[in-house]
Symmetry: C2
Subunit: 463 residues, 2 copies
């Protein structure tokens, strides 16, 4: 009952639902008093079933489904190709041109007629008269006839009549006459008109992520602009009478607003155009004005604050006036209280997440990042997960999906090993900053033994 | 000798140096005339040894080493924390504050004295008088004595005298008096002042990549700005008399400048601040002016063009006037001709890469991206590589390291499978745009059998 388990004699993936969590409400007998270890390992007492109406309790999946089925995909916009980088193409780009635009030499050498050099051998070279030179960029087409050769550099237009390029190294590199020691077959070392793209071919297709290679191709077919799925504009706000801006020294009991910074950064990292709008006013009329104004200019509004399911603080009241807003007890830890609605004339999605900064970034990963990726049109909404061996025992509240910040490493023998940051205690800010993953412990698991496998979601943040 | 090999009966990793490539210059006997298959599979004739002075032939590693040992790391700059995202911290950020700043409740419940509730049991509850309520943000510290309790919400300041928070669910939730059914040990469910960060503790250390969690922590310790390694400013230029801008319809023999777009995009993707300066003037005085001006305002100048080792086109001449510029025959394919120098008063690094767009992006991956990452201060300069099973035979010129664009997929049975795009032919633009990796074939390998393992460098470009 201590939450400690060295895994000895247990099979990997061992789950013990007897560990740590008793019933939500202490039974008539002696309750499972948490030991210091289980207290510091994130054993969170559950709210009593009767204190939260069943109608506002929901699973992570149900809340996420509601968000994902309700966020709109912003209309495509046209951007300069360089600004389109990282976005998804929203049009079928048909090339009006052939690529290459003309028959050209694939390397430096001599453009000749294949039949003239077919029999060339080092001990029986073929001698041709060099009648000209074509360099890349020279636009006047030339022509050759039997017994003639044209010096060409890579990319240079092929003279008409020539159907092959003899690499310079297969010749004596002559300038007036050239001795050819070997002949490539017809078409050798020639890039033919339209080999890569023919007029009417699709160059970049709907849904293709635009990277340097796509930008190269778009420029080649003459496109300066392209239609893409735009970055959603996301207003990031936070609510709380205890909050002061980062430039202010907090008085006793006050807390610096870190969420509007961290969430704006996370939203940008996920691909959004994030606007950090900061702390919501505490004066009711100003609060309404700010919320209405953000609803008008945003594709999504994100608010971090300490809300209660069925609770009615001023922010929740004002949100309720603007549309249908649902606050719920989601069966996750940290930060079970989550809200979602579509508000204002344009039914703009509004996501409310916990105000505690670690819970806020967890909720961002679980609910907001997938919504942003959906708005961007991406197919892969979720981060990949891997299975990793837990380096130490973990405890988790029964019935709640627990997200613990951790550090995941490759094991020298293969696979991954994960450790929670801060010994599995509540992940405070400095500890969270050392994490590179979230450990996900399922609802029906209350204990993970050291050595058992857990699901890990690496948080790739460059570096 | 056809380059075809179904791998039957060959061990994985089979290398056959007999395939395709004969000596650089045809011997006295009949030369290995390339078959159509080997021609279209990237069999590139080598330049004859005597046509390129040995002094300008060098390996990929030597050229890369020279670049990496010569690029400077730009001085740290101070940025607003949100603009620091993705960059490396360049200072030791010491917290002047404690985090949390005050003792606070970790969850909703009752702040009490541990000794008062130590003996509480469901069948022997302890009754305490509720003398007040503390919510998050309330700044006036209260106090309690023996037999008293204070209602607290998560994040609320703990009254002095209280050393434990009894979770609400372990009580009868009373408002005047509360029946406590179980008591946590001293310190339970309390976040102590400085638990996370004590004054004088380092919050973010030199070299840490700044992501949302670091931004959260920086805001929490009151930092609005932070010193970081800046994005290097990179001017992207291209040279070639055949080039026209993307907005111009190319005349016969002309080619659209795609490199300045593609390379600017690739440089941004690598973390640089890229300035697309476009096509270099062909008039000598204007050319000098443009180059001098770009040297003054850039941390690195990148020029794509068709240069020759020891060649002297006008761009090469003007570059030579501005400093020591070395053009080399690097033993790689595509695009062996590479240049590097440090030019102008400030000895700004200048990297010249091939003008052929596929070779340009390959050279970017091999030489420029690691240089940008070094300038950013990143420890991991190179993309990870994986071993993948070749889905079809590959040929490669002897003595040259070949980079082929390909598509790599996970195999259902584990591991990876890779196919070159366009059947292993020269990767033109549209084909390159379908690739998600580079296949790297070592200098001493001329043939890779289907089923053999090859080194693959996945190009992660979002999506």
């Amino acid at each position: 009952m201590t939450g400690k388990d060295d895994g000895t004699g247990r099979t990997p993936g061992f789950r013990d639902t007897q560990l740590v969590d008793g019933p939500a409400r202490p039974p008539g007998e002696i309750p499972p008093v948490p030991t210091p270890r289980s207290v510091t390992e994130g054993a969170v007492p559950l709210p009593p079933a009767e204190s939260v109406p069943l109608s506002v309790i929901c699973t992570v999946e149900r809340h996420l489904d509601e968000i994902l089925s309700s966020v709109p995909q912003p209309d495509p916009i046209e951007l300069a190709v360089l600004d389109a980088q990282g976005l998804l193409c929203a049009e079928e780009v048909i090339s009006q041109r052939a690529l290459p635009a003309f028959d050209q030499a694939a390397l430096d050498g001599y453009a000749v007629r294949a039949e003239d050099v077919a029999g060339a051998r080092p001990n029986a070279p073929v001698s041709l008269a060099v009648v000209g030179e074509s360099v890349a960029g020279a636009g006047v087409p030339s022509s050759i006839g039997p017994g003639l050769a044209f010096r060409v550099s890579a990319g240079a237009m092929l003279p008409t009549g020539a159907d092959v390029v003899v690499p310079g190294v297969w010749t004596d590199q002559g300038t007036v006459r050239v001795e050819v020691l070997a002949g490539p077959p017809t078409g050798g070392y020639v890039r033919r008109t339209g080999d890569d793209v023919a007029p009417g071919d699709p160059a970049v297709q709907v849904g293709t992520p635009i990277g340097p290679a796509q930008i190269s191709l778009l420029a080649a077919v003459g496109r300066e602009r392209v239609s893409v799925r735009p970055r959603p504009r996301i207003a990031v706000l936070c609510a709380g009478t205890e909050l002061v801006d980062v430039g202010t020294a907090p008085a006793p009991g006050q807390v610096v607003d870190v969420n509007s910074y961290a969430l704006a950064a996370a939203a940008r990292d996920a691909g959004a155009e994030a606007y950090r709008s900061g702390i919501l006013p505490t004066e009711r009329r100003r609060l309404t004005e700010v919320l209405e104004s953000q609803l008008l200019r945003s594709d999504l509004v994100l608010i971090a604050g300490t809300f209660a399911p069925g609770g009615f603080d001023m922010v929740q009241e004002v949100l309720a006036e603007l549309g249908q807003m649902n606050f719920r007890q989601v069966t996750m830890h940290p930060g079970p209280v989550q809200g979602f609605g579509r508000l204002g004339r344009d039914q703009v999605p509004v996501i409310c997440i916990p105000g505690e900064p670690v819970a806020a970034l967890v909720a961002f990963e679980v609910f907001v990042r997938p919504a942003i990726r959906l708005m961007l049109g991406k197919r892969q909404l979720f981060r990949r997960t891997v299975q990793a061996v837990a380096g130490q025992p973990l405890v988790s509240p029964l019935g709640y999906r627990q997200y613990l910040h951790g550090t995941v490493m490759r094991h020298p023998d293969g696979g991954y090993v994960v450790e929670p940051v801060g010994n599995g205690t509540e992940a405070l800010l400095a500890r969270m900053a050392r994490a590179n993953c979230l450990i996900v412990v399922d609802e029906d698991v209350t204990g993970v033994a050291a050595g058992a496998l857990v699901t890990v979601m690496p948080l790739l943040l460059g570096g």
